[in-house]
């Protein structure tokens, strides 16, 4: 599994790690039952503090993505459909938000924007 961190991002490191593990779960790169690297191993590899990784894992556990089995490690839990849809909705919202901003900045009318979305959907055969 790939986990990389940006040193110049405004986003805290624990959030970057959390996001990447979550994305890997959504993308199916991590499957239910997979064992995540141990907290101390990952801290050592990424050269970040143990507390940073602990925090990322704790959050993921609370959000229902992984399960921490004392003394054994952290396992990926089966994917939750509700969470999956919520995650997809967030991504769509973000992308559409950007499109709206760009349209506004470029003076493209709303009708034309909707039309563009329609064309894109048709090109992808998404009906």
């Amino acid at each position: 599994m790939k986990i990389i961190i940006s040193n110049r991002s405004d986003r805290p490191i624990y959030e970057q790690i959390k996001q990447q593990i979550r994305d890997a779960i959504f993308a199916g790169l991590l499957e239910a039952g997979d064992l995540l690297p141990s907290i101390r191993q990952l801290a050592r590899d990424l050269q970040v503090s143990v507390i940073t990784i602990t925090r990322a894992y704790n959050d993921l556990e609370q959000e229902g993505f992984i399960n921490n089995v004392q003394g054994k490690g952290c396992y990926v839990l089966p994917r939750n459909q509700e969470l999956l849809r919520e995650h997809a909705r967030q991504k769509v919202e973000q992308g559409l938000g950007e499109a709206v901003d760009a349209a506004k900045a470029g003076g493209i009318p709303k009708a034309e924007l909707m039309e563009m979305l329609d064309i894109l959907c048709r090109e992808e055969h998404y009906e």
Binding site: Q41, V48, T52
Partner: protein, 300 residues
């Protein structure tokens, strides 16, 4: 009093104070749990080295006490010179300058030091000096500052220490050597029973690897706790000169006005009392130290 071995504290400093004619250290209080890295920060002359020397028993504090390795147990037998020595052999120390004779070679230093440590591991020492490219026949005085630090680290890591105490190990080192040292420290605490206390004013080294921070300013402790909590407690703010009312300006720590604006930081919890057009961003450790230092001077 709890048995510290249960709470997993490796070092407990309580109410430490030391009086000097020109400098006073007051009420230094912190705990270092097992398995974590604590950064010890503050400007030069804040009292970091005095605190470290008190922990190591190199100077006798006027107030307070230092407890190493879980023996603040009322049932424990009183400290004897032997038990004290045994405890200190579990600490690996890297000071600003090595405390060895500068005419000794790397090989001689190892030979002289080995008998002081019951768990001296010569094989490990050989591994570290070859990893650090230290030649055994070089005299201490012939080594660069970076090499001297690495030699001390090689010694500190070769007797199965449970606590590493480093006083400014990275000052005066180039970025490559500093990165190597940070990497070694991360490696050291991948064992959950080992801890590091690391004083520095190069905060970039701590920003990532430190779990806890203890911050002292002018001989007083400003903060001790998790690094993330400290960095999330404050926000850097900047804005135009007429953005703030005097009441709002009083919330800014380390306020600095210049011809075209101002900068400083404030408590994240105060942010809602400030106008929304200000620029706000996460504060770095360096900024935090500078603003705190300025804030202290402004209130003095």
């Amino acid at each position: 009093m709890n048995d510290l071995s249960e709470t997993g504290l490796i070092l407990k400093v309580q109410g430490l104070g030391k009086h000097y004619p020109s400098f006073d250290l007051h009420d230094i209080d912190f705990d270092l749990p097992q398995g974590y890295i604590m950064g010890f920060i503050g400007p030069n002359g804040a009292g970091k080295t005095t605190t470290i020397k008190s922990i190591l028993g190199l100077i006798r504090p006027d107030q307070g006490q230092v407890t190493l390795f879980a023996s603040i147990n009322p049932a424990a037998p009183p400290e004897t010179p032997q038990s004290c020595l045994a405890k200190h052999s579990r600490i690996g120390v890297v000071m600003d300058r090595p405390l060895y004779n500068e005419d000794w070679t790397v090989r001689q230093i190892a030979r002289v030091l080995a008998p002081f440590y019951p768990k001296w591991d010569d094989q490990k020492f050989q591994q570290y000096i070859s990893r650090f490219a230290l030649s055994p026949d070089k005299k201490l005085k012939e080594l660069s500052r970076g090499m001297q630090v690495k030699l001390q680290l090689a010694v500190a890591l070769s007797h199965h220490a449970d606590l590493l105490i480093l006083d400014e190990p990275t000052s005066g080192l180039d970025p490559v050597a500093r990165d190597e040292i940070c990497d070694l420290l991360c490696e050291f605490v991948s064992d959950p029973h080992k801890s590091v206390l690391f004083s520095t004013h190069i905060t970039a080294d701590l920003e990532k690897i430190a779990d806890y921070l203890t911050f002292i300013l002018n001989g007083r402790m400003v903060y001790s706790g998790s690094k993330d909590d400290l960095l999330e407690k404050y926000v850097r703010v900047a804005g135009g000169l007429d953005d703030l009312t005097p009441q709002q300006q009083a919330l800014i720590i380390g306020y600095r006005a210049y011809s075209s604006g101002f900068e400083g930081m404030c408590l994240a919890s105060h942010l809602q009392q400030l106008p929304r057009q200000l620029l706000t961003e996460p504060v770095t450790l360096d900024e935090l130290i500078v603003y705190m230092h300025k804030g202290e001077a402004q209130h003095a």
